[in-house]
Every structure is written in structure tokens, then in C-alpha cells.
């Protein structure tokens, strides 16, 4: 699967170099950004088993944070980004401390409420957020000689951030902490009896996951040079969840596959499917019924059964796939 993912990456990057249309470059950047967003959500849903409809809050708070701080606040983009990350993480920590005390439906509802509060603020707090019109004229930073305003450079930057983040998330999943997170997902009662602090582990996952979503939000703000309440809407929250589920919440790179599927679909499918959102709804239902672990594990199963007809290969990271 790793080899397949790397191949895909090379193809995508190669296309970017050889057909450098601005549209494609910015689309590829958005795929990197939403890929990171989806991976962060997968950390929460897949590893910890917590379904959040409010992950947009992290994305949006960080995006608005860096947007506002670098325009009205007059800060340097990097400083603004760091501050936005800190703010989003702090809010995530405070909120998470309450939210992870409950599970299942209660968690769905409380995170949905968070998402709606964030959206409502973005929409109504016009004096700060610009309301429906959002914040415009946000400048991208530069890294030394590299000018991120050029689409190709920005794509490379996004790709690098995605790469590093995916490595970090993968490391986390394979670590002792990762094993505890999955343990808490599967048998919270047992984990408590073993001396693990279930609440603290869930909170740590929530904050980590929120951190990466915040990074994605900052990149998105720079990519569009614009922030608006749309990315905080319930619909957007649903779309990201869709990316995670379609790709496979518990699989290593599944969410990235899901991102490509959903975004590719949204972008190009309106040539042959008139209503992309309804189609995505149908896809979601079909996946949930027939391929509940998502596309990526199904693909992986297909590829390994072609390679070896023997015993099923145990997954690379010691958890349920």
C-alpha cells in the first residue's frame, strides 16, 4: 500500500510539473490541504472512535485567526499562523476537556454544537469576520527566497506539509500512545481497569487531531487568500467526514484516497452526473452498507490477495483495519 501511495504521489506531482495550468496547481494544493484535514479527522474517528461534526471549528478558527491577525492585526503571516495555531489548540483543549467526557450520540451532538457556534460567529460577528463576505486580501508568506504566491511553489509547500504531517500521524498511530488510543476505542472499560486514563487519552487525541486540522485551515486560508463562513458550515463538516469514511477511517492512507475521490468527484463529475452532492450521498450510503471499512482497505485486500493466496496479511500497524 505504501508503494502504491508513493506511486500515486509521484504521478500527481509529475502531472503538476508537466502540465502546470494554474487551475490544476491550485486544485492539487486543495487536495493536499483537504487530505491533511481528512487525515486529522481520521485520527479522531478511526483511531479514537469519536465521530465529530465540529471539526470545521478547528479548521475555521485557525483560518480566520491567521486571516484576521495578518490583515487587521498587522502581524507577519508566519507569526499570525503560529498564533492562530496556538489559539485553535487552546480552544480545542478547553472544549475537548468537556466533550470527551461523553461518547457516541452525545459526542456527535456536542461537536455539532461547537461547529455551529463557530459557524454562527463567523457569519454574524461581522465587525471581526466580515460575515458573509469573509476576509479578503490575505497575503501568503515567503520562505527565504521561495515566493509562495507562485502556484507551483505553494503546491510544493502544501505537499511538504502534508508529507511531514502524514509521517507524524503515522508515527503516532504506530506508537505506544497509538496503541492506547485504539485500546480505549475498543475496550474502554478494560483500559480503565488496566490503569489507563481514558479521558486523558481521548482528550490528547482530540487536541492532536485538532492541531492538524488547524494546520490545514491555515494552508486553506493562504491558498484562497480568503476566508469565509462556508468552510465552517455543517455541509462542509459532512463532506470531510465523507472523505474519511469513503477512504477508510481506520486505514493508513485511506483518508487521502477519500479526499481525492470526493474532491475529484465534486470538481469533474458534473460533466456526467448532474447532482454531485446527491451522488456523494448515494456513495456514502453504499459504502456504509457494502464497504464499511472504506475503499482503501478494500483495495488493499484486492491487491494483497492478488499477490499472495495465503493467510491474510496482518496490517502494518497493530490495530483493527
Amino acid at each position: 500500500m505504501t508503494r502504491f501511495a508513493l506511486l500515486l504521489l509521484v504521478v500527481v506531482a509529475g502531472l503538476g510539473v508537466f502540465s502546470p495550468s494554474d487551475f490544476y496547481l491550485s486544485f492539487a494544493s486543495r487536495i493536499c490541504i483537504y487530505g491533511l484535514y481528512a487525515m486529522s479527522l481520521a485520527l479522531l474517528l478511526g483511531e479514537a472512535g469519536l465521530m465529530s461534526f465540529g471539526h470545521t471549528a478547528f479548521f475555521g478558527i485557525a483560518a480566520y485567526g491567521v486571516g484576521w491577525l495578518s490583515t487587521a492585526g498587522g502581524l507577519d503571516p508566519w507569526v499570525a499562523a503560529a498564533a492562530a495555531l496556538a489559539i485553535a489548540s487552546a480552544i480545542g483543549f478547553a472544549f475537548g476537556a468537556f466533550a470527551v467526557r461523553v461518547t457516541d450520540t452525545a459526542f456527535v451532538m456536542i461537536t455539532l454544537a461547537l461547529g455551529q457556534v463557530a459557524w454562527g460567529l463567523a457569519y454574524r460577528w461581522v465587525s471581526v469576520t466580515g460575515g458573509d463576505n469573509g476576509l479578503t486580501g490575505i497575503a501568503r508568506p515567503s520562505i527565504g527566497p521561495a515566493d509562495l504566491t507562485r502556484p507551483l511553489t505553494f503546491l510544493v509547500f502544501c505537499g511538504l506539509v502534508l508529507f511531514v504531517s502524514v509521517l507524524a500521524i503515522d508515527r503516532l498511530r504506530g506508537s505506544a500512545l497509538g496503541a492506547s488510543i485504539r485500546g480505549v476505542r475498543d475496550q474502554p472499560r478494560r483500559m480503565s481497569a488496566l490503569g489507563y486514563n481514558v479521558w486523558a487519552i481521548r482528550l490528547a487525541t482530540f487536541v492532536c487531531s485538532g492541531f492538524f486540522a488547524s494546520v490545514a485551515g491555515i494552508l486553506d486560508c493562504w491558498q484562497q487568500r480568503f476566508v469565509s463562513p462556508v468552510s465552517l458550515s455543517l455541509l462542509d463538516a459532512t463532506l470531510v467526514l465523507l472523505m474519511v469514511v469513503i477512504g477508510g477511517a481506520r486505514s493508513r492512507f485511506g483518508p487521502l484516497v477519500g479526499t481525492v475521490v470526493v474532491m475529484g468527484f465534486n470538481e469533474f463529475a458534473d460533466h456526467f452526473v448532474s447532482r454531485t452532492q446527491a451522488a456523494l450521498g448515494v456513495v456514502l450510503i453504499l459504502i456504509v452498507i457494502f464497504m464499511p471499512s472504506g475503499i482503501a482497505p478494500w483495495l488493499q485486500g484486492r491487491m494483497s490477495s492478488r499477490r499472495s493466496a495465503g493467510a491474510p496479511k496482518l496490517s502494518e500497524v497493530g490495530g483493527a483495519k
Binding site: A99, M109, L112, V117, G120, R124, T238, S274, R275
Partner: protein, 282 residues
């Protein structure tokens, strides 16, 4: 003062939607995130029926039947196949919400559709020195009536007793001779019907517009949380409280209207997950 009646009539509508949601959640343990979609579908079907010349009561019936039918089909065709996986069920309802929303856009386009109130109710009634639109008063009365009927159904009939017993133990329900699949389909259909009826009733007030599904759903969730997941009384009281905040809030605190709506919900959820009226078993 007009805000008062607006709050009350909106509260009535919100109660109908929430009651449907609570019913489905209470019996099937599925938070139906497509519930707003059923509300919207009811509104559009109602408007379509009215434009086709049907009298208002028939339009209400049309809206209710359409949503009930869709609900039953969805439950039998999708939810039943998924079985006990809660996460998967939630996601399936999300998928349905997307389908409903987009389909409505396809059929009826993006512009809001205004619906006329029934002829007889297009006047204003004078009460306590102020004028109130008769239609809104009627909506409030209908909602209260349905609330009372629901209460009677649940508290006083044999079916209601069985429902109450069945909520906590599915095996018991089977032992009492009730077919669980039928119960689930019926519940989902009935809950969706309530949302659909609310939608038709709402159409003359709010108009039918795209996005009304995701406008309404979070409000119902707030009511469910504040009022307690299994309590009809809680849903009733909560609906009017939330409606009042929703109607009056933006006037008093334009920038923080949503915050004052949702923050209490989050606090209650965190401290008392069963809501203000609910019992710990839920």
C-alpha cells in the same frame, strides 16, 4: 410583542420536528441527521400541492405522507441492512440528508418558494390590544393539539405502554409479540411524518428554501439536549425556550445569536448528558 407570537408558533413547529427526532432516537437509538431534510421535503411537497390547487389540509396530508413513505423506505432499505453499527447508521442518515437536499435543488431550483396560508386564516386576530396573524395562532394550536395527542398515545394507550417498555429492552418487545422490524419502520415513518407535517405548516411562515434542513436540524438537537432525550415534556418546554432564543436572540445580540443558542446546549451536554428533564437510563 409580535416576537412573542413568532416564538410561540415557531416553538410549536420546532416541537413537532423535535418530537419526531426524539421518537426515532428513543426507540431506535439512531440520531436521524436527515430529519431536517424531511422537514424541508414536507415544506416543498406542501408548496407543490398548494400550487397544484389542493386545499391546505390535503397539502398537509401530502407532505406528511411523502415524508412517511420516504422514511419507511429508507429504514427498511438502508438502516435495517446496516444493523447495529451506530456510526454507520448516523452516516447513512447523513447520506440521505445530502440526497434530499440536492434532489430538492434539482426539482425546485434555488429560489425560495412562497406559500399562501389558507384563505380562512389570512386575517389578523386582535388579542390583548395587539394584532396577531391568525395563521400563526393556528399553527401554535395545531402543535399543542398534536402534543396532547402524542402524550395520550404514549401515556394512555396500550401501544404507548408497549413503546415505553420496548424502548429499554428489545428482547422484551419481541416477547410481547411486537415485530421489531415493523416497530422500527413504523417509528421512523411516523417520526419523519411529524417533521414533514411541520414543514408544510412552516411553509407559509418561512417559505420553502434550500438550506432550511440544516437550519432546522441543529435547533432540534438543542431542544433534544436541553429537554432530555426521552422526555416529551422536556421537548415541549425546550422547543418554546429555544424558539424564543432563536427569534429574539438575533435582535438583542446580533453578533452572538448562535452562541447564546448553542453554548447552553454544550454546557448541559457536558455536565448532564441526559438533558435537563431526561432520566439517566437514556
Amino acid at each position: 410583542m409580535t416576537y412573542l407570537l413568532s416564538s410561540l408558533s415557531f416553538g410549536g413547529l420546532l416541537f413537532l420536528v423535535t418530537a419526531g427526532f426524539c421518537l426515532i432516537f428513543g426507540i431506535m437509538r439512531v440520531p436521524n441527521l436527515a430529519h431536517g431534510g424531511f422537514f424541508m421535503l414536507g415544506a416543498y411537497v406542501g408548496v407543490a400541492a398548494l400550487r397544484a390547487g389542493l386545499p391546505f389540509p390535503l397539502a398537509v396530508l401530502a407532505g406528511g405522507l411523502a415524508t412517511a413513505a420516504l422514511g419507511a423506505v429508507f429504514e427498511a432499505g438502508v438502516l435495517r441492512r446496516i444493523g447495529n453499527n451506530e456510526d454507520a447508521q448516523v452516516l447513512a442518515t447523513v447520506g440521505l440528508a445530502l440526497i434530499i437536499g440536492d434532489s430538492i435543488l434539482t426539482v425546485w431550483g434555488g429560489n425560495p418558494l412562497r406559500a399562501p396560508a389558507p384563505e380562512a386564516l389570512r386575517t389578523s386576530i386582535q388579542l390583548a390590544g395587539a394584532f396577531f396573524p391568525a395563521y400563526r395562532l393556528a399553527v401554535l394550536l395545531v402543535s399543542v393539539l398534536i402534543a396532547v395527542l402524542l402524550w395520550l398515545l404514549i401515556e394512555r394507550t396500550r401501544l404507548g405502554a408497549m413503546l415505553r417498555a420496548g424502548v429499554d429492552d428489545l428482547k422484551m418487545t419481541r416477547a410481547l409479540g411486537i415485530s421489531v422490524p415493523l416497530l422500527f419502520s413504523g417509528t421512523f415513518a411516523f417520526g419523519s411524518c411529524l417533521a414533514g407535517v411541520a414543514g408544510v405548516l412552516a411553509a407559509p411562515i418561512l417559505s420553502a428554501y434550500p438550506g432550511m434542513d440544516f437550519d432546522m436540524l441543529p435547533l432540534a438537537l438543542v431542544v433534544v439536549v436541553l429537554g432530555g432525550m426521552g422526555s416529551l415534556l422536556g421537548a415541549f418546554v425546550g422547543s418554546f425556550l429555544v424558539a424564543a432564543v432563536y427569534v429574539v436572540g438575533p435582535v438583542l445580540f446580533p453578533e452572538f445569536a448562535y452562541v447564546i443558542l448553542f453554548l447552553p446546549m454544550m454546557i448541559v451536554m457536558a455536565i448532564r448528558p441526559q438533558g435537563l428533564f431526561g432520566s439517566a437510563s437514556h
